[in-house]
């Protein structure tokens, strides 16, 4: 039962990941791709947290924290260079 639910949760996350990846490939503009990368890293955070609970490894949560920090910096850097280009 629990295992089935975990598979369902991971399937939902994977579906979101695939949708974001299609948008990343298709574009059509650079900001679209930046937003897609942002969402992908949030989805990866979700994956990591679900895996931490599934295998009872609290240490994995630290990875999620660092990922949240780095993602914000990356997005701000992208926005900065986009605005300089405009």
């Amino acid at each position: 039962m629990i295992n089935t639910l975990f598979i369902l949760i991971l399937a939902l996350l994977t579906a979101g990941f695939i949708a974001a990846f299609i948008r990343l490939v298709r574009g059509p503009y650079l900001p679209d791709r930046v937003v897609a990368l942002d969402l992908i890293s949030i989805l990866v955070m979700g994956f990591i947290v679900v895996y931490a609970v599934r295998f009872n490894q609290a240490a994995y949560l630290d990875v999620a924290i660092i990922l949240a920090l780095i993602t914000f910096l990356g997005t701000v850097a992208f926005a900065y260079y986009l605005e300089r280009r405009a």
Partner: protein, 138 residues
Amino acid sequence: MAREIVVMSLFLVGAFLMFLAGLGLLRMPDLFLRMSATSKAGSLGAGLVLLGAVVFFQDWGITARALATIVFLFLTAPVAAHMIGRAAYFDGVPLWKGTVRDDLRGHYKLSTHRLETQATPPDDKESIDAVVQRIDDH
């Protein structure tokens, strides 16, 4: 057992919201609508998944870290979305053809990237006829 039910419900709702964010990113018609889907549904979904971890581990250190992550996410997601939206607006990313209102039109000085209260006269407002025409076309 009760703990598992709470954790699984939080995970399911959070994962579903993140899936909706991905779907919105794929299906919405222009960048600004896409951003509205990802920044809201995405951060709420991630927050719910982290809350699930809090309920599962029931440890003060983990609770503090997870709550700090949630607060950080909710503080930074709007800032990041605003910065990308601003940069994209300057970059000339087109709005959806069904858009009826663009309050920023004419208010941004493209040379300095400053927001001006006084709109520059020529394209201050679209005439109401043009808007009606565009809705009809759509």
